[in-house]
Symmetry: C3
Amino acid sequence: MSSELANELFEQFRAIPIFDTHSHIDPFAPTAKSLDDLLNYHYFTELAHSAGLPIAAIATDVDPRERCRAILSQFAYLENTSAYSWMLEIARKQFGFAGDTLRDSDADSLFDAAATRCSRPDWTDEVVRNTNLECVFLTNSFDDRLTGFDSRLFVPCLRTDDLVFHSHMAQTRTRWQSATGTSMESISDIRAGLRVIFERFVAAGARACAISLPPGFRPEPANSFAHCDRALLAGQSSPELSAQLFWLLAEHCREFCLPFDLMIGVNRQVYPAGVFQGQDLFDCRCSLIEYAQLFNAFPEVTFPVSVLTSGPVNQELVSYSWIFPNVLPHGHWWYSNVPAYIEPDLRARLGGVPNNKLLGYYSDAYKLEFILPKYNMYRRLLADTLARDFVEPRRLNVERALGLGRAILRGNGERVFGRPA
Amino acid sequence: MSSELANELFEQFRAIPIFDTHSHIDPFAPTAKSLDDLLNYHYFTELAHSAGLPIAAIATDVDPRERCRAILSQFAYLENTSAYSWMLEIARKQFGFAGDTLRDSDADSLFDAAATRCSRPDWTDEVVRNTNLECVFLTNSFDDRLTGFDSRLFVPCLRTDDLVFHSHMAQTRTRWQSATGTSMESISDIRAGLRVIFERFVAAGARACAISLPPGFRPEPANSFAHCDRALLAGQSSPELSAQLFWLLAEHCREFCLPFDLMIGVNRQVYPAGVFQGQDLFDCRCSLIEYAQLFNAFPEVTFPVSVLTSGPVNQELVSYSWIFPNVLPHGHWWYSNVPAYIEPDLRARLGGVPNNKLLGYYSDAYKLEFILPKYNMYRRLLADTLARDFVEPRRLNVERALGLGRAILRGNGERVFGRPA
Amino acid sequence: MSSELANELFEQFRAIPIFDTHSHIDPFAPTAKSLDDLLNYHYFTELAHSAGLPIAAIATDVDPRERCRAILSQFAYLENTSAYSWMLEIARKQFGFAGDTLRDSDADSLFDAAATRCSRPDWTDEVVRNTNLECVFLTNSFDDRLTGFDSRLFVPCLRTDDLVFHSHMAQTRTRWQSATGTSMESISDIRAGLRVIFERFVAAGARACAISLPPGFRPEPANSFAHCDRALLAGQSSPELSAQLFWLLAEHCREFCLPFDLMIGVNRQVYPAGVFQGQDLFDCRCSLIEYAQLFNAFPEVTFPVSVLTSGPVNQELVSYSWIFPNVLPHGHWWYSNVPAYIEPDLRARLGGVPNNKLLGYYSDAYKLEFILPKYNMYRRLLADTLARDFVEPRRLNVERALGLGRAILRGNGERVFGRPA
């Protein structure tokens, strides 16, 4: 339960424009076209499926209105989850929904209300405005189009999972050839292609290079380029090749002065029969010690780090950020993005990390509508934590607590990643 | 400190009949015959020993009254523990004890009071009634007698540690031969025997198959049946054989429609010189990723999962339950069954798992007297959590919070495991 | 926010003399000579460096006043950290500082105020008195001088990292030869030398043997003394040799009746370019199961255990202390010595460990001035926890809660380690 003081801090935080340093927004379709675009967010489809909904009920060939009914039919089972709260807040804030629960009986009216709002020509502008969104970082593939949108609002970021883990796949190679004019058949070819890509991204105002990594990943320079070249030529994958391609990226981040955004700890395709984007899990036996060589080798590169496991891995993140100038804790990622984990993780970061390094939150959103409820969840927890741990025990007065909150919510992100061009 | 609201929820939860989905109750001696039967619960003997009591003082040949005196002589050192609170609540509720501390000076009077109560002919009925116990699940060996007790109250469950880990031991083989009429000398023999056992258990109203597993266990189908047959014939154990026997059990759970209750993470005999049942510990480096292949291979089987390590492994349990429809978080097991771990683990489960999958609590009790204080501990934490995280921030009204609590305490267990026959 | 009750407990705890069972105090220079001696504590240098200060600004050849200015120039970024609170409390309590923030503009006046106070001839006595310090344990190398100081106040303890991990280094061998008159070229030589050392330390009033250990360390008796002898003769290190040397220490602790203080989980030199003493980190994948053989083999030896990772490893420590009579949880170490980790770890220890085994806190201080603010941080958390978890829910009355606090803060340490001679 929040105190009056926490409420006051929260209200102040709501007034701060959102500087969202990681999302999956498509700048060519940033907002929903319909309720279906929102309920298809993997949080809802996977929870509805987990609660008992067969995947067939939400298959792509199902009528959108039916799919929404199917997902909402499970919402009574989800009302305890954070994801449910986000959707309820969207329904109320964006679609004029007046109820205090979301149920299957609301499906049709909500679907219609959303259809009306989302089809307004200025819907995106409206959401940007009522979200008080300053900018949101994108997740761009190396061959994404980087023009045709406002890059001060939608900030390009180079996502590199494909290069590091899928260089052996024909599709990646074809796309790479198109995008760079080089092959993927040797390290030197890839270097040449990477230069093309980094130059293009930096010119387009990119503000980070990003990647998600499995729990066992260990970055290190190649022992043998010959091995990597052989693997590339043969179109094979290997841990050593992935490690080397990752290392190349770090070198380019250094040269092009881009932060290298590491999202550490996801196992892909653990439940291959799951819903779209609802198949990945993790192994909590993960450690940043695997990254010590990297952090030492690239003191000039800033590494905003997200971890998937709360608790001990977050304690590592706190401690590594306390010791390494170039390691910064970044947001609360995915399975750790629930209040039960944000709260203790945040509290620990506040206790051990210099406050100019705290990159508080990012939305990870697929549609702009989700940014506000997610940020409000975080702002509420930040306000509670600052009130309880700092202002009430008189370690900070309200003004300084507000300053701290502002740095965490916006100032540090802007300084570390740079203002959008 | 609990709010009035939390107290109100707690009172409502106390009125819900207990549907206890895991215990070690002996249906032929479900309640204590004396105080000694209660103080010999391993929680007390191991804590008393840890606090300084020599094992000789509680050996089986010591006079029961003396043994109680010995254990109570350490109770001043235990008054901070959860186990102490349970015993104090039993003493007050069941034996008319009026004090607010339990000390060695109480030994004789409490021993006598317990002797009087426990020797009443209707003692078990009385405890069942004042516990408001609807049913309690048992832990039956494959050769346990399943008749001669009320299987609506005492629900049989097949415990399978012996089969999976001790098939090489002469004693297991003799018991198996008697119970099934088959040998343990080949996989096909074991299949034949398992069919006999599952048929007998299902006919007797069994509601689950259960097993406890060490941290490093990795279920997978055998690469080589020949290897398993050779090991069985030679009476040898091997990880591959255990994995294969476990896999056979999952196949039988599928065929016989029984939930497969997994209790993951215990190392047996870590302190072999410890008290009876007080020798097992764990390795916190444990992950559900080892079970991904199992969960994928048996979508029709329900897996209620208990984990021994709080925190990161509980976060895995939350996340796996969020993604896999057939994985459900089950209770708070053993070393995690203390408020300091129940509270954060529960909070996380509430934030991430559909509420029709939350199997809140089980007693793990050896005597019926322990069910009530353990459930009250959990009910209190559940009430506090629902009040603080849901009702006070207006995410749920009181009525819906009560409904959520009822599902967690009783409704889900009844639906997932089925009503006793 | 603390209740009135918690404040009352806290005030009572402040009156208890401090029995500090682990520090790095130099008995020949126990207090600071200047502000520089305090700001050079690695907590401040590493946090200032992490926040952006180049190491050159705090190099040893920099003028002390300049170095203090440099470190304080980063203090605005550190005001959220626990370390900052300690320094602020020292400035106010010991140096008459009246502000409520510490900033670079305070550097000169604080430097001068400290210079005046620290140069008083009775400065150490004054700090001992206003800290209400009963005694503080030291960290002595095997060749440290053990005379010339008051061993009732400064209690010798034998630190053994050098022997176990650096027996191959020429410097260690030379020092060993000087201190013991034996070589390090065979196990039997080392046994002879160890006897000399243990006799000298026990005669000087030593109260513990101590060591810090990396996450992967596994104590076990040597499989082959021949291997160890060969490694010693060749001046080589090996895990088996370290394990054997460690085992020898446990044997000596048994013979000389010294507690063996284990500090488990540190990786040294993870950031070799970091500030002095600010280069070590950890791997959260650490387990006490590696120590099971040790705990079983030496039931007569008391093992106070500190762990570097909060959460799961602390849960192991709780559970191992609950089961093994000779394992005791000891303090909150280093990266876990922040309120966000002390609070949950303490709460769990209180719920599961007999209270005569709870060794609450030690300062780990390098200068006496830090003992009081660190203890006050812990006392506050202990008071809050006892109030919330025990007194408010009526599990203990105030008097018994105070008794429990006294045992945790002082009584257990005195009994387990023994009164200073």
